[in-house]
């Protein structure tokens, strides 16, 4: 089945940018000759603000950069790094492409799965972690590699993973 899981609206009434985010968006808009060009930075700011991008945030971005809402939806769905479903506070994205696989990424995935009790695309009941297998993170020289939200962790083994998980509350 190809259908993306149904998105869950956080809010049904129109969202507004919180003050800090609004400033960032305004700053981003200054980088471009027209508003629509700021669609990707605005999506990033939305993701950092709400942890994921709910439909109401997509509408907010559309309003902000003056693009039709469906077009913003089309853009957001093209990029896998925009989360259009809710994720845990810490989004663990473990690379399982060839280089990382060769140096033990599959073992680490099993380790994470056992330790957190969740599989690919799932979130722990306390909302702390979401685990996801991803394609190449372009850190092949230092595999295995895992991205947590916007941070990279490299040269991993089980012990390193455990230390990381301890720190992420």
């Amino acid at each position: 089945m190809s259908r993306a899981p149904a998105t869950v609206a956080l809010e049904t009434r129109p969202l507004e940018w919180p003050e800090a985010a609004r400033k960032q968006v305004e700053e981003a808009l200054t980088h471009y000759p027209n508003r629509r060009s700021a669609v990707l930075p605005a999506l990033w700011i939305a993701q950092r603000t709400w942890g994921w991008i709910p439909p109401e945030a997509l509408r907010l971005v559309a309003r902000t950069v003056e693009l039709p809402e469906p077009e913003v939806f089309g853009i957001a769905t093209f990029y896998t790094m925009f989360n259009l479903q809710p994720v845990g506070r810490h989004h663990l994205q473990l690379c399982l492409t060839v280089s990382c696989s060769l140096v033990g990424a599959d073992r680490l995935y099993e380790h994470l799965r056992r330790r957190l009790g969740i599989g690919h695309g799932e979130t722990t009941p306390d909302g702390r972690f979401t685990l996801r297998k991803v394609e190449c993170l372009a850190a092949c020289g230092n595999g295995p590699c895992m991205q947590v939200n916007e941070d990279y962790y490299e040269n991993l083994d089980e012990a390193a993973v455990d230390r990381i998980l301890e720190k992420l509350t």
Binding site: S2, P55, P68, E69, P70, F73, T77, F78
Partner: protein, 899 residues
């Protein structure tokens, strides 16, 4: 078209085409078939599907530029190393194209194999099967086996709202739907998401589409990915009889292809290469046909002999009608009989309706039942250039500047709106929209200007525009008769200083000046107006003001420029042309002129009244006052269309004889003494005239409902019972008489109207001389702004049109129930929330409706679309002066005690 052409050779056939022609179009001219999916004549080239690949070469040239000749003496061709997409490649002089060379055939078969990698080939259960381009081309160019072992990519089927069914498995991602929705509809409702190997067309977050629900995405889909839910699994295309006729829902006159099985219309589609609209239809045109087979259709005449209406035989009803009409004419004079309505009839029926009236000796005949003040019968013709050839809708879309005055084309002429949006996107058309609400065409995304017209400021704005245009220099090319009025007009316009105009209209002088400058200085321009001006209490003044503006800006003198009237109904223009007005005979002839009357008197065998009769608003007052004793109302729900419902009720209750010809037992029909069952647009033949003044033939797609009669038969039967010797054998017979007698229509015939009828223009006699004349504003002064209450803005909306749309379940569902719309600020000031019941109180009555927020409604106003079944706007009182003011308050909630 420029005389310069380039020579191209396609499959050995040399043709000359204009530079810039796409290879697909050049091939069509050379009668070579190049298959396409993503390419569409109304959309810019994309090159997405690649089925149109061909081999392209140019003659090889020496260093000195001379062609290199091969061994046989013919020029050597340097072929491009890879096949090219014909839909994006433009011609070049000397270009050689091969569509059937081994390389081209191999490439096309390869593309077809790719297109079928994921296509489910579920043709037997696909509604597109039998008329599917993919099916046809797979048959022509596909393999008879598949080399694919892998599982096909699959998607879940989705309903995108109540009209669009999506089966993404069948989609070949040609993007036609997305592009049409954006470029022509201006809706941007569809998008491609999950772009990549899983690209899928859908709406925002897969929500039901919030759009015009036109279904044009279904129409342009070359496969079965988008199909119509109302037609789903109803029929196979080869089981349908197809009839091309003219859509009845507005004055644009779109061609519509009805698919009929047995006695039922199962679908309506555009016509691809015919009609003014080609593939385009709006939601009403595409999904509004079901009223034709509604169970409530009248299937026989009704007579009120005692107290209640009871079924009667046709002959009995005719005899009753004739004897009562004769009686009333004898007792009170023929001036006590009036004929109303007819804007939804064919030209032939309109002609007979007024012929019947005038034969009876009355000139009280008027189709324009919504008028709030008397208006000369030729006022609209005069404001639109007095018989000057009209602009076609196609030409309207390629104008440089278009001023839309007072109407929301989304409701009043959806195709005209689409034409303007396409023009804005593709031809650099610039829009100026003067409307109290920020209607769709005034939205920022169409990059036009919105002049936020305050009710009561209409005359002032038009005068201000005229003055600003005059300030830019002397108008050019006006006929001497028109130019003679210039000094007086100039003097009168001097009083309309920018400060005064800003005070009355609320529009900045700079915006007015800029709009006038654009209109004057753009070479090709058009002014579009509709019912908002015509049904305004100051209509006569407004139409003169429009004409002044048109002369001063060149809209009536510059080449391919025009003033267009987009009237409310399919027969609005025809009714004016056919003399369904009290002061003009068919062809706008003056009944006071004995020479003009003579041909009609000779043909009809009667002496015609020379004095003008009463206009619809005058008939309304006279009937309510007992001076009109008999009314015949044809195809018009008068209790709703009359400007004052209380007066209309009084008129119907007091009249000795009320005859109503209708499809349904409307409120008006319920008040009648005789009801004749009419037939719908799909059951009769005839001619209708659209807003381009184009004469178009309608076709009979269905036999008339058993028991129903065409209005032509009814009018003729009554005329014969009254002693007139009418003997028309059919509608075409009537048309022959029209073509003989009516200036402008002379020399036309049914046979000349296919596939696209001619646009009539004055042949001299039908011309009305133009003029420039000062227009005073009866309302100008502090009273306009100082009034109490909210301005009532009414108007047409897309999904509701009146008594016909009330019988279409799907349109009712799309229209989502009647509401009174306020700006968010206004609603707050009133202490109301969305959904609260609000009472609107006018001078004559009140209406209670749920309140809703619509940010297009300006402060100090409320918008109530008039066409909802539960809205009777005319209960509030007749608009006068600048319009109608109402008071809004929260509806009292009365607690019910006990059960």
């Amino acid at each position: 078209m420029s005389a310069k052409t380039v020579k191209v050779t396609i499959n050995g056939r040399a043709i000359a085409v204009p530079p810039g022609t796409l290879l697909t179009d050049a091939a069509r001219a050379a009668e070579v078939h190049i298959p396409v999916f993503c390419s569409h004549p109304r959309l810019p080239p994309l090159g997405a599907c690649r089925i149109c690949v061909v081999e392209v070469g140019m003659p090889r040239r020496d260093r000195d530029g001379s062609p290199v000749l091969g061994a046989d003496g013919s020029p050597e061709i340097a072929w491009m190393p890879k096949p090219q997409t014909a839909c994006t490649t433009t011609v070049a002089d000397g270009m050689v194209v091969a569509t059937e060379s081994p390389g081209a055939v191999r490439a096309r078969k390869g593309v077809m194999e790719f297109l079928l990698v994921n296509h489910p080939l579920d043709c037997p259960v696909c509604d597109e099967g039998g008329e599917c381009q993919l099916q046809d081309l797979a048959f022509a160019f596909g393999h008879d086996f598949s080399r694919m072992d892998e599982a096909k990519r699959t998607f879940v089927s989705e309903d995108l709202g109540p009209v669009v069914k999506k089966e993404a498995n069948r989609c070949i991602v040609c993007m036609r739907c997305v592009r049409y929705c954006d470029e022509i509809m201006g809706e941007d409702a569809l998008t491609a998401h999950q772009r990549g190997v899983r690209t899928e067309i859908s709406s925002f977050d897969r929500q039901p589409l919030e759009c015009e629900q036109c279904g044009n995405c279904i129409e342009v889909c070359p496969v079965g990915a988008l199909t119509a839910l109302p037609y789903r699994f109803k029929a196979r295309p080869w089981d349908l009889r197809q009839h091309v006729t003219i859509c009845p829902w507005c004055s644009n006159g779109c061609s519509v292809r009805l698919g009929v099985r047995g006695t039922e219309i199962l679908r309506a589609r555009g016509t691809e290469h015919r009609g003014v609209n080609q593939e385009y239809l709006c939601a009403r045109g595409r999904f509004g046909y079901s009223f034709v087979s509604a169970a409530e259709r009248l299937t026989g005449p009704l007579l009120r002999l005692g107290g209640a209406l009871a079924p009667a035989g046709f002959d009995e009803a005719v005899a009753f009608t004739a004897s009562r009409l004769r009686e009333i004419a004898a007792r009170h004079g023929p001036g006590s009989i009036a004929f109303l309505g007819g804007e939804k009839l064919t030209v032939e029926e309109q002609y007979l309706f007024q012929k019947l009236a005038r034969t009876l000796g009355t000139s009280h005949v008027d189709a324009r039942t919504r008028l709030t003040a008397p208006l000369p019968g030729d006022a609209i013709l005069k404001a639109t250039g007095g018989g000057r050839p009209a602009l076609s809708l196609e030409e309207l879309g390629s104008a440089g500047e278009v001023l839309v005055l007072g109407d929301d084309l989304q409701g009043e002429g959806p195709f005209a709106q689409a034409v303007l949006i396409r023009g804005q996107h593709q031809n650099g058309l610039h829009l100026t929209v003067a409307h109290p609400r920020r209607v769709k065409l005034a939205r920022p995304k169409f990059r036009g200007e919105w002049l936020a017209l305050r009710p009561g400021g209409e005359v002032a704005l038009l005068n201000a525009l005229a003055r600003a245009a005059l300030d830019l220099g002397e108008p050019q090319g006006m006929p001497p008769g028109v130019a003679a009025g210039l000094p007086a007009l100039r003097q009168a316009l001097a009083a309309w200083t920018p400060e005064k105009v800003e005070r009355v209209t609320g529009i900045e002088p700079a915006a007015v000046a800029a709009a006038a400058r654009r209109l004057r200085e753009t070479p090709r321009k058009a002014i579009v107006f509709g019912r908002a001006l015509v049904e305004h209490p100051q209509a006569a003044a407004l139409l003169q003001a429009v004409e002044n503006l048109a002369w001063l800006t060149g809209a009536l003198t510059a080449e391919r420029s025009f003033v267009m009237y987009v009237g409310p109904h399919s027969g609005t223009q025809g009714a004016l042309d056919m003399g369904l007005v009290p002061d003009r005979l068919p062809g706008y002839l003056d009944p006071a002129d004995a020479a003009a009357r003579a041909p009609f008197e000779k043909q009809w065998g009667v002496a015609l009244p020379s004095a003008p009769g009463m206009t619809a608003p005058e008939i309304l007052k006279a009937a309510a006052g007992g001076r009109v004793r008999a009314l015949w109302i044809a195809g018009d729900n008068w209790l709703r269309s009359a400007p004052d419902r209380a007066l209309a009720e009084q008129a119907l209750a007091g009249a000795e004889l009320v005859i109503v010809s209708e499809l349904f037992l409307t409120e008006t029909a319920r008040a009648a003494h005789v009801v004749f069952p009419a037939v719908s647009f799909a059951e009769k033949e005839g001619v209708v005239v659209n807003c381009e003044r184009r004469l178009q033939r309608t076709a009979r797609a269905l036999s008339p409902l058993r028991g129903a009669r065409t209005d032509r038969e009814t009018f003729q039967a009554v005329a014969r019972a009254l002693g007139a010797g009418w003997s028309y054998r059919g509608a075409e017979d009537v048309y022959r008489e029209i073509a003989r007698l009516v200036p402008g229509y002379r020399g036309t015939g049914w046979g000349t109207m296919l596939p696209l009828g001619p646009r009539w223009a004055s042949d001299g006699a039908a011309a009305v001389a133009g003029s420039l004349a000062p227009v005073a504003d009866a309302q100008a002064g502090p009273g306009v702004l100082a009034g109490d209450g909210l301005w009532l803005l009414s108007g047409g909306v897309l999904f509701q049109q009146g008594s016909l749309s009330h019988r279409v379940e799907l349109l009712q569902k799309l229209a989502k129930g009647a509401r009174a719309f306020f700006g968010a600020g206004e609603l707050q000031r009133l202490g109301l929330a969305e959904g609260d019941a609000v009472v609107l109180e006018g001078p004559a009555g009140s209406l209670t409706l749920p309140a809703a927020v619509d940010d297009s409604v300006p402060p100090g106003a409320v918008f109530v679309p008039y066409a909802y079944p539960e809205v009777q706007v005319n209960r509030l009182g007749a608009p006068a002066g600048a319009g109608l003011r109402v008071k809004a308050r929260r509806a009292e909630v009365t607690a019910r005690v006990g059960a």
